[in-house]
Amino acid sequence: MEIFQNILNALQFGSFYALIALGYTLVYGVLRLINFAHGDIFMVGAYLAYFVAVTLLGIGGLNLGLHVDPALALAITVPATMILTALVGVTLERTAYRPLRRKGADRLYVVITALMAGLVLENGNLALLGASRKRFPDLIDKVIWNLGGVSVTNLKVVVIVAAIAVFLMLQFIVTRTKIGMAMRGISYDKFAIPLMGIPLDTIIVVTFVLGSAMAGLAGILFAMSYPILEPYMGALIGWKAFIAAVVGGIGDIRGAIVGGFMLGFIEIGVVAVFPSTLRDLFAFSVLLIILWLRPTGIYGVAQTTKI
């Protein structure tokens, strides 16, 4: 029975990694840019969810005198957080990445900018809100079903279902719609796309909106599952999700999902057998070996270089 419990936990953790990895992979697929600030956008998403939720419940944040029912509060918090987080992502793109792109700066400088933008978000949060941790309010009652020794909470089910739904939606958008076609086109040839009458900047903004909204969703779900928020929560999980995206083959949506769940299973599997302090060591060693054997990840396609 323990093994089913572990599989469930692995699926839950993998869902978080997958949701964040999707954001990395979307932006990378379009711009060939590693958006290192993405883990911190996830953190901002969790904090935004916190502020929206406490404001609605009337227990902190902006004092609007609201006392909304928790279920309704959740229904408002989810879309509100996704929109606000998407705004943060777009702002970042507008202020930091777009000027560099316009100048035709080397990809590397954009990566450094992204890294620094992540630090600004992290430490700006620390400086503004202080080091005290925030406790996310309970928005839904926890229901525990006991299925033959395996305890299943409603939250875990929601998290896993959300990750799979988001994957299916993004896969549909990228492979079946016109916008998705434009995204794939940009990754294929950034210079020919504007000549075909496709607005480059709009497509890139849409990409950032999608990626950041998913990070926001992951932020809410994470905050509901582990209700303690702190400014550095996005850093480690962001790096890990990035590694998951690369192992799956960065730039491919299926890769993000597979990589995310794989990382989840490796981590939980290690903890089930070895002491939990060895988790990172084993997880990263396995990932290193995978990259060693398949240098472009599971779904990645080797890029041909010409002389």
Binding site: M116, T277, F284, L288, L291, W292
Partner: protein, 337 residues
């Protein structure tokens, strides 16, 4: 005379700093800032070999520094100090002058071997995927040390200051300062000699075009192996010095934040410029100390400054040039190899 002016000037400067520190004109605080400058110069210039000259994106430099720091600390603690697990000192304090550099070299060698973890995958992988491998290597090293009880695990490891005490007990001089300054001069000298040598020309060749370099008979795999191992070995040397300057190390101080810091110095100084890396390391250390009064906001201001730098002067302070390229007329007073 012209042949030696630069060397003489450099060693006069080192002697001046050491003398000022010995006479207590520079107090402990300034001395330690200078020592951190030296360590940062070593880190930045060694990373510059991979990120600047070879054009790869290595973001795990802190891990190699960690290996060097722990291995050399373990050596000196074994030799010169009393430790609960490792027992009484094996050697008398007079031998610290020989033992300490040897310990540093052992640490550097261990770090160079750790560099193989990155160097061997780099034969097949480039760019973003290699960046992940370096990142994963950093995490692996940190969490391996976190799980080693003999070096204290996450609590950290100490006892290195006994070496410093042993040396100043014999001859009263600021030995750590001397070793750090000599170490940074050695690092920059070695890297300079390497990248301007016939063999080392292969490194920028890989940066410009790997396949073309291969056709022009550059053994790219061998060059990558040398570059990664040299870079991580020098990072290990810097780590060893850092550990002995501080007298205490813990794995958290070598995590991804440290690697980011070193990367920042490299790009601040300009890729492929050793003098740029040195200038950036010095000015970054000064900036960090000068902005101390900002407290938490320091970590907001410094990244913002870098974002602005990337927007307005993305090639860094020095671009691709060396200091000697900027002042060509001064060349008649010295010759620089």
């Amino acid at each position: 005379m012209q042949k030696h002016t630069f060397t003489i000037g450099l060693f006069a400067l080192i002697a001046l700093i050491v003398a000022l520190s010995q006479l207590n004109i520079l107090d402990q605080y300034y001395t330690s800032v200078i020592m951190f400058m030296g360590v940062n110069v070593m880190l930045a210039s060694s990373l510059n070999l991979v990120n600047g000259y070879m054009g790869e994106f290595s973001c795990g430099h802190g891990g190699f520094m960690c290996v060097g720091a722990y291995v050399s600390s373990l050596c000196t603690v074994l030799m010169f100090s009393k430790n609960q697990i490792l027992g009484a000192p094996l050697l008398p304090p007079q031998l610290a002058f020989i033992g300490f550099p040897i310990a540093l070299m052992v640490g550097a060698g261990a770090a160079a071997v750790a560099g193989l973890v990155v160097a061997i995958p780099s034969f097949k992988t480039r760019g973003d995927y290699l960046a992940i491998i370096t990142l994963a290597a950093n995490y692996i090293i940190i969490s391996a040390i976190n799980n080693m009880e003999i070096v204290g695990g996450p609590r950290g490891f100490m006892g290195m200051s006994a070496t410093d005490r042993a040396m100043s007990g014999v001859i009263d001089l600021p030995w750590m300062l001397i070793f750090v300054l000599l170490g940074s001069v050695f690092t920059v000298w070695l890297l300079r000699r390497f990248v301007t040598s016939t063999l080392g020309k292969g490194v920028p060749a890989i940066c410009q075009d790997e396949i073309a370099a291969e056709i022009m008979s550059v053994d790219t795999n061998r060059m990558k192996l040398i570059a990664f191992m040299l870079s991580s070995g020098l990072a290990g040397l810097a780590g060893g010095l850092y550990a002995h300057v501080l007298g205490y190390v813990n794995p958290q101080s070598f995590d991804i934040m440290r690697s980011t810091e070193v990367m920042v110095m490299v790009y601040l100084g300009g890729m492929g410029s050793l003098s740029g890396a040195a200038i950036a390391a010095v000015s970054y250390t000064v900036l960090m100390e000068a902005l101390r009064f900002l407290d938490v906001w320091k970590w907001v201001v410094i990244p913002l400054l870098l974002i602005l730098l990337m927007q307005f002067r993305p090639e860094g302070i020095m671009g691709n040039k060396e200091l000697s390229d900027l002042f060509p007329k001064l060349r008649k007073y010295y010759s620089f190899k």
